[in-house]
Subunit: 463 residues, 2 copies
């Protein structure tokens, strides 16, 4: 069965709720229900929070209810964190209470041979048109309204700022590490949805929903097992025409498929068929979690008009490595325009060769970076500018940040920064990322992501 339009529409309530009930709320800091309740309060969720647990009258200063049915007023979102066998009964109460939707975080269903419990949940949900996310998942995080069912303490796992990338992830672990890293580097997200075993709503339903979500401009998917591959691939193809879809498919080989089955209770399907379908639909595939993170950042850049790369560096070796990566990936090193060459010759010191890659040498100043970057951005022969930089040199200072953010905010042309180092470099990197400038740890990872971005840009430009 697939979700009805009515059920999908009700997802609005679940993702932007005015009231949240936490079933299994607890005083014990090792219980999920404790962490979730605390995160909602500390995360400054503005709606009504209703803990549900017959053991308590009050929890963290809030009135605690003995069941969903005892909660006064309507409930838009129910978060369930109680053992699997208790969940069908809670679903019945949710139906009776006519809640907006349910997030079931609890594990212990298909993955341990209790598919019967999942079936009971499914039956109630489809009969009563209740959107359900889960089971066996992390639930949702929405930075726009501070809805947060992620059962990791905030001091251990950061929450990202508001932005335009949305995640749909089968694995809570994979999703959680991506948002933790996104938070660390100041990368904004729109909606995060971890759907686990896909008992009711699956990845395709969620993809359809996000396709129409105004705050979502880029959709990132992590999938292992998929129940209806054809439907997913058709939907991906359709959505990818207007918003880039980036996908990481896990459970590729024989052992990987078995591991995925043990994890989510469903077989992962033939990877080669998926890979072929992704290519045919021009959907961007990440080959690993590192690439997923690289791609989601590069796709926020303005579209590339072609594959001709300009490289500026203050470390010769980094320029050579970036050139190698450009050639290995099948991108092209731009031939500088004559005007560019003339203009550069006027401003660079005598020990700098005017060519691409442009090696400004270790004594390059902020002003030299600024001027050469402007000239590269104006050169019609260059489609994408990669700036390699050692922030560590004696002649550079913090004004370099402004040079890169200004170039990025002008949105004339896509740019990426390659920078490697320790604490000092990391500080610069975080500021740049939070301003929307993608920074990469190696020339290869940058160029690979750029290549996929150029491919997608070409697909969209052709249409």
């Amino acid at each position: 069965m697939t979700a009805s339009k009515e059920m999908l529409k009700k997802l609005d309530k679940l993702l932007e709720p005015k009231s949240i009930a936490v079933v299994g709320a607890s005083n014990n800091p090792e219980k999920l229900g404790n962490v979730i309740l605390r995160n909602l309060i500390e995360g400054k969720y503005q709606g009504r929070i209703c803990p549900v647990n017959p053991k308590y009258d009050k929890l963290m200063g809030l009135e605690c209810y003995s069941s969903i049915l005892k909660v006064k007023g309507s409930i838009d979102c129910v978060i369930v964190a109680t053992p699997a066998p208790t969940v069908p009964e809670i679903m019945k109460e949710c139906a009776e209470k006519e809640v907006g939707g349910v997030l079931i975080l609890s594990g212990g269903f298909e993955e341990v041979g209790r598919g019967d419990l999942a079936e009971q949940i499914r039956t109630i949900a489809f009969k009563e048109n209740i959107p359900v996310i889960g089971v066996n998942c992390l639930g949702i995080f929405n930075p726009y309204n501070h809805v947060d069912s992620i059962f990791f303490p905030m001091y251990k796992l950061g929450r990202p700022a508001r932005g335009k990338v949305s995640f749909i992830t089968q694995s809570g672990a994979v999703g959680s590490v991506i948002i933790d890293a996104a938070s660390y580097y100041g990368i904004g997200i729109s909606k995060f949805i971890s759907y686990g075993n896909a008992t009711v709503l699956d990845e395709t339903d969620l993809l359809e929903y996000l396709a129409n979500d105004k705050k979502t401009e880029i959709i990132v998917l992590y999938i292992e097992a998929v129940r209806d591959g054809r439907r997913l691939l058709a939907t991906m193809k359709e959505v990818n025409r207007k918003k880039p879809v980036i996908v990481l498919k896990a459970g590729k080989g024989t052992e990987g498929q078995l591991a995925a089955k043990s994890h989510t209770g469903t077989l992962a399907g033939n990877y080669l068929a998926y890979q072929a379908a992704f290519r045919q639909a021009k959907v961007t595939e990440a080959r690993g979690i590192d690439e997923l993170f690289d791609l989601m950042r590069i796709f926020s850049q303005p579209k590339a008009r072609g594959k001709r790369i300009g490289i500026i560096t203050n470390g010769g070796g980094l320029g050579v490595l970036t050139t190698d990566a450009v050639e290995e990936e099948g991108l092209v090193l731009a031939q500088l325009d004559n005007r560019t060459i003339d203009e550069l010759k006027k401003i660079v010191p005598p020990h700098v060769n005017v060519r691409n890659p442009l090696d400004l040498a270790a004594d390059a100043s902020v002003e030299l970076y600024e001027k050469t970057l402007e000239i590269f951005l104006a050169d019609e022969n260059i489609d994408f500018v990669i700036v390699c930089i050692l922030f560590q040199t004696p002649t550079l200072n913090e004004r370099i940040i402004n040079v890169f953010t200004t170039a990025s905010e002008n949105k004339k042309k896509p740019i990426a920064v390659v920078s490697i180092g320790g604490a000092y470099t990391d500080m610069y990197k975080k500021i740049l990322e939070s301003k929307g400038v993608p920074v990469f740890n190696s020339p290869r990872s940058a160029v690979r992501a750029i290549n996929q971005f150029v491919e997608y840009s070409r697909y969209r430009n052709l249409k």
Copy 2:
């Protein structure tokens, strides 16, 4: 010409000097000679420091000399940071003064058409048997005696602790970012040598020297252009029999070779021939700077007896992704021994499937990690253990660090940790790295490095 035995022997003086002269020492914080002098003083170099510059009588509280010849007593190491045209004359003075050796940091030779100046330096060096590192380089860093010619301020670029990895790098930029990152993550090094244009001593001379250096157990090379490829490859093969040699060769394609020529004044040579030779000699090749960093960490683990991998995780998705990577790289997922299965069944909670990968689920405790890791390390069917971990879960705490460092220190079996996240995770990661436990940002990067390490272990085990 190649370096004589006598010249190589004198390298001891250059790398472990009792006295250092800095030619071009300066009061101006934008000059290299200023940064180097300050770094020697602040870095607590214990020998005599002699600034040389006719402009000053005193510099940073030290007596300043008008020339090398005016310095009282002998000089083991001369660091030259003056413009290229001045260097031949300084070399003559170094010969007259009979110094131990010379580091020439200055650029402006072959790479800008002034090969004649380099030729003059070469002639003097070989005639007088003076070991010279440079020109156009960062020079050396030795954490054992705090010799440091790296002209990057310490607050911008960290200096690593003492350890057993030595670097030979043609590019100062590539070398500097690697040591900055090594310092950030607490990875110890033995000697760092940036040799630039290889005017006198080249990569092969330095490799021969480090082959006999007792503090060096792993040798990492970054090369672009090589003057005598056959000699390098023969030496690499020989050294790699007793100490692992890890190499990153840049300047691969047509454009990359041109970029390398512009950078160091020499053509980079046929990459495919190098690649074939590396394979034949069982030398470990890094395909990028990210892999170089991964490899240098994994090679500090005890040798692997085979390629059967055991995986423990508390995030199902990370286990699936790691399994995918193991299969993609051609490694093997270990079949758990029957005793392992029995022992695990006694200790894991009912929702955990006893299999490989072993998914302990998000509620795994430190104790469960400890016991299962012990069982995996004792299983004769497992050659390498990968531990994936979300440090962020509510049930884990800082005692987990001890579990991993103890397992690593026992040196029964090689292990690696895969962990991804933000600030909290980074803190754990840095502690583990500083204790010699390699931690990776993605399953793919871990497994790729492990695969190359397993290959090298096999080569050494076969001998």
